[in-house]
Amino acid sequence: MSFPESQLEVAEPIDPQITATGLVAGQSPTRLAYNRFRRDRLSMISFWIVVFYFAAGIVSPILVKVGVSKPYGQDQKLLNIDLGGIPSGSWGGTSWHHLLGVEPRVGTDFLSRLSYGITFSLTIAICATVVAVVIGVVLGIISGFSGGYVDAVIGRFIDMTLSFPQTLMLLALSTTGVALFAKILPGEATDPIPNGVYEVLVLGLFGWPSIARLIRGQVLSIREREFIDAARLSGASRGRIYFKEILPNLWAPVLVQFTLIMPAYVSAEAALAFLGVGIPPPTPTLGNILGDSVNFSGSDFSYFLYPALLLAIIVVSFNLLGDGLRDALDPKGDR
């Protein structure tokens, strides 16, 4: 989404050193984009929030291994059995030992669950985004560069994938899909790996068309450029033109797409967890914690609030980061 700061086309400030010597130093487009991005306060804040989440996602499995964070531990003493296992104490049993309180029914430290949940949620979102981006970029390049009937076939294929009711198909195929993955991969049908792989693949397989469309549009203009002619004349193979000549010119839109699709997948994981698709508990993901937390909307407000808050922060920050990147990389580009 476009935001005030990023909308403003600020003129490049003149570096005092350069004016002093009377020289104007040339700056590469990447450098210019980097400077534009640095000056955008909102983008920088969201960038650091995203970095923080990633750090939490990387550190928490280590903390779990060392035993500092215990996402599976149980402690019935912290719960009020008379109220049906609601944590005793205010704000979901917040204390120095349990900064965000404990989980109702089991008494697990909620901070441990949430931070470990971030690990799984981000992993799923990243993998699904990679699947979508790789398929989208490859088909987009082929479709844009080849033209003719190849382009037409891929175009129809894109239309069709976009018209398929995604959520419905995801749900409908989940039993068979997960059973299939449970056969090839280690783990039962209720284990994280087959469920996670199914979720990643299906999200990715439905997510590529919009990327392919965008990349195709970019390739249409790149393929008319001289360096492509030069490569063709010097006898470069198709594969070389695709991946050595065209692909390096696409990193900016690919990066922007990546940061805009990832939050959508973080949300999608949550929505699917509510419908029972994806990594099942007790392995925590933001989605399945959230799906459980809504059962306590009336009785344990902090348990209801925190996961939604964490999810909202990461999704908003990622979106703002993507917008900031787009504005920085392509100041005159379309929205």
């Binding site: 005030p4 018209s163 009711p165 959520t167 198909m169 799906g291 909307s297 999810l311 908003v316």
Partner: protein, 338 residues
């Protein structure tokens, strides 16, 4: 123009045919035995066989797909098997022209099953649509006009937060707090116009529609804001100002016009997607629409119903795409079709 519409409809139909084929492959080439789910867990194998035979599940899937396709065009009779028809002629039921199959779980043909649920999902989609269009466009315009101010940031930021919160959380929040704890509105349960009048219908739709509208609004705020801002630097706007047109007229007639095309695109597709049922929102509010039917049919392995739903939803999206493209040409005279 006419030729264009015909061509688009033709490709739309072909797409549906291919999609039904793919879906049939995905559903019926799997080891699941649809007949098994017609009766309880301790179903005798003979009964499963009989159900399979009656509904044609015993045939290879391409043949089943062919029967299905013929059924959509001409209608079909159940049971299919001639031996069964002879032994129990009183059970023969006819499924007329757009026959999407027969649900072995709900014991009803899929077409009439879907027909019953469409009004609920359509009501929800319509009210939500009006709410987010009104909210999104006006807030987007306000944000653009107050660009850079605290109002602008507030509007954009809050709409993004609502977009980021999952709909099931938002829905349950709205049920728990405004409805139950604060008692501002009644806990909604769907009432048709025939049962509760227009007011009863609308008031029960308010919370679920709000849940959806809050989620969808962010996109419209963003697009309206961006396009209004862009058109503000256009020459024609300066001309309008210079000739002394009232600011209100400038906003409505000149500025908003620029945002109309992208809004129509987004709105058409969002609305079409919702017409096919809001899976999560209907689940949360316990509305018996297409979305809830989808979840139920998947949980009970009611493959014919699921299949019918997939195709109906796809058809909505394809039709919406065609309508949007035609509207383009109407809204923007520069666009030529054909």
């Amino acid at each position: 123009m006419f030729a264009y519409v015909v061509r688009r409809c033709f490709t739309g139909v072909i797409m549906l045919v291919v999609m039904s084929f793919v879906t049939y492959f995905l559903f019926f080439a799997s080891p699941l035995d649809p007949g098994k789910f017609a009766c309880g867990k301790s179903c005798p194998p003979a009964l499963i066989k009989q159900t399979d035979k009656a509904l044609g599940f015993d045939k290879p899937w391409p043949v089943q797909w062919k029967d299905f396709a013929v059924g959509v065009v001409k209608g079909r009779d159940y049971p299919e098997d001639p031996a069964l028809r002879k032994s129990a002629p009183q059970l023969i039921s006819h499924c007329s022209a757009p026959c999407l199959g027969y649900s072995q779980v709900n014991l009803i043909n899929v077409t009439s099953e879907l027909k019953d649920k469409i009004p609920i999902s359509a009501s929800l989609a319509l009210v939500a649509f009006l709410m987010w269009i009104a909210g999104g466009i006006s807030l987007g315009a306000i944000a653009a006009l107050t660009k850079g101010s605290i109002v602008d940031r507030g509007v954009v930021g809050i709409s993004l937060v609502f977009y980021a919160l999952p709909t099931f959380w938002m829905g349950l929040f709205l049920i728990e707090f405004p409805a139950i704890k604060w008692g501002l509105v009644a806990v909604p349960s769907y009432t048709s116009i025939a049962d509760g009048g227009v007011w009863g219908w609308l008031s029960n739709l308010f919370l679920p529609a709000l849940t959806l509208a809050l989620f969808y609004m962010a996109g419209y705020v963003r697009i309206t804001r961006a396009f209004v801002l862009e058109s503000m630097s256009e020459d024609y706007l300066r001309t309008a100002k210079a000739k002394g047109l009232a600011p209100r007229k400038i906003l409505v007639k000149h500025t908003m016009r620029a945002a109309l095309t992208p809004i129509v695109t987004l709105a058409g597709l969002d609305f079409a997607g919702l017409l096919g049922g809001a899976i999560i929102t209907e689940q949360v509010f316990n509305f018996n629409g297409l979305g809830k039917l989808a979840v139920d049919s998947i949980q009970t392995f009611d493959l014919p119903t699921t299949l019918g739903l997939v195709l109906l939803l796809a058809a909505f999206v394809i039709v919406a795409n065609i309508i949007v493209d035609i509207l383009y040409a109407v809204i923007d005279p520069r666009v030529r079709v054909g």
